[in-house]
Symmetry: C2
Subunit: 199 residues, 2 copies
């Protein structure tokens, strides 16, 4: 690519680091943007810059928002008694697409993992314990992925919250073994939520 101006090469390199894009597809994406500089590239750059500038992690639940508290934590119509614990923001978005859950969330930021040396302190588990004590939460719904690490994490949280006077449930029917929430259709997530069982 000796002929592509340096900035364009840089742009291709940066795009190629995004998940799902390799060097070839990054090049194709950049070529399309170059063809549609006004209609695609300029608006994309602007929205991206705005989001980079304004996006913030919600101090309470870990969701992405644009203020100290995210839109869900600010929304007073959301039930405050139920907190749905998810691994990451992608899973929160998947739950929201399902539209079945009317409570609030707690984003762990990952799962416990011996292999990756992720302990409870690396996740937002201590913060969850605080929230249960402070916010009058009556049910914690564990919506963790049906993977080994996800289930290890679920068991750990159930243990930590034992005696806190809160019901602990988990998504059940409909989540395939080894499946990840973000790949499920909305109906499946809704069914799993309705059929949740005590953990």
């Amino acid at each position: 690519m000796a002929d592509a101006p340096q900035r364009i090469e840089q742009l291709i390199d940066l795009m190629a680091r995004l998940p799902g894009l390799g060097p070839r597809s990054a090049r194709r994406a950049v070529l399309l943007m170059l063809k549609k500089r006004g209609a695609v590239m300029a608006p994309l750059a602007q929205v991206m810059a705005e989001v980079a500038l304004t996006a913030r992690d919600c101090l309470r639940c870990g969701n992405i928002g644009d203020a100290d508290l995210c839109a869900i934590c600010r929304d007073e119509r959301r039930a405050t008694g139920e907190v749905c614990v998810v691994e990451n923001v992608a899973d929160l978005w998947a739950m929201e697409r399902g539209g079945a859950f009317k409570g609030r969330y707690h984003v762990l930021g990952g799962t416990l993992s011996a292999l990756d040396a992720v302990g409870p302190a690396e996740l937002r588990i201590p913060l969850l314990v605080e929230r249960v004590a402070d916010e009058g939460i009556s049910e914690v719904i564990l919506a963790l992925n049906a993977t080994v690490d996800g289930q290890t994490t679920a068991h750990y949280i159930a243990e930590v919250l034992e005696g806190a006077g809160v019901a602990i449930t988990s998504l059940a029917q409909g989540v395939p073994v080894g499946g990840e929430l973000d790949y499920l259709d909305d109906g499946t997530i809704g069914a799993a939520l309705r059929a949740r069982r005590r953990f």
Copy 2:
């Protein structure tokens, strides 16, 4: 995605329009960017904005550059007697990666296509005829894709340039039937260039 701030939804929508990215992979790309706002998202937005602002189509050859003439047209070490005709900038980049061609280019901006109603006037063919007359070009190398439309276009250009006193050659050995330049390895492109034949 009711919970994602509106700008983030907008960003996902824009990303999903890029080739190779659907709604799901756009979401994953945006989530990664959101995680790495300083290291990935902000620099990407900035480089993209700069390119959107500065990129220009070369007035002579149709390549993308940052001035009236692209870096290749400005480069006095490039042979001026040979012009390589390609369909689009992606193919020009593929030729340059091969590194075998030392002349200059002419980017058509597509191929003739009855189906898509693309005639010679929609491409940069009249400009090619002008260049052959004005720039002392001795050889026009047709490096069009080995597709039906690509070859139709090659034949049309050969016809139009008949009697212009210019040798017309085409890439030969190594370009698989139905193959597209942008998918070939560099060695194949080099071999096809060296073995080019009269058209």
